[in-house]
Symmetry: C2
Subunit: 170 residues, 2 copies
Amino acid sequence: MRFESFIRDIPDFPKPGIIFKDITPLLMDAAAFDAALERMTKPYQTGSVDKIVAIESRGFIFGGAMARRLGCGLVLARKPGKLPADAIREEYTLEYGTNALEIHTDSIREDERVVIVDDLLATGGTALASIRLVERLKGNVVGLEFLIELDFLKGRERIRQYPVRSQLHY
Amino acid sequence: MRFESFIRDIPDFPKPGIIFKDITPLLMDAAAFDAALERMTKPYQTGSVDKIVAIESRGFIFGGAMARRLGCGLVLARKPGKLPADAIREEYTLEYGTNALEIHTDSIREDERVVIVDDLLATGGTALASIRLVERLKGNVVGLEFLIELDFLKGRERIRQYPVRSQLHY
């Protein structure tokens, strides 16, 4: 399965000069979406992962299905103010200003094995914030899975002490 | 499986007087999440659904996994400005003001059988907007699946000509 043919380039989105990688053609194709999930879960044995942490919002698309394939729980890493119960927060830097991710404090227990999932690895800001959230709850990040990695933004360098896998590189 | 025990009441969230139904304990529990997805896909045979339309953002959690169980494509109904390609929009009314959902124009073909998915049926505004989006693309809404329904908000009455199912009622 060559995933490249299911990713659509959208020039100047969300702003001029950016070429957005649109994953919706892949999601719409049952075989391509299935193959992507197969590849994203393949490194893990059923029972070897306790929690999938899915990053809002496109990470949710993959995270729910991956958690079911691996027979484990799903945890949401969300934008500030979205999680209703006690949560911890990690800020990360954007081109201008900062944003943050939150996770419920009861979502991960000590020594649980956690895989972090998102559609895209870009600068690594959200990935690093997610790792910190998991580790503050004493979870053990055993891997990070992305559909797409934008190699030129070098996000991988910021999280290089962790196993990082992406199905597509640009 | 009694799903009630996996739903947590959060008083005064997101604002005073609202009791928020927190689904994260259900998602964290592998067996409960699996059973919910089993029940939400049970009315449909593999091959009888062409597309799952998942409503941003908690609908994504269920939509991806349901599409894989049913062997069909996944389509995203998103907040305005999030979808990068040609899209159509439907507005819906909130307590104060309006919001809108968008869907890519190439996401559904004529006569495709579509199931719309979200975590919660409240007033029915987003459900109705999603139905209209699918029908503008000439898709055939064969069902709407929710984890939770807030019966007292009577959302079901606004979409009563469609098959609507919810796993939990409050």
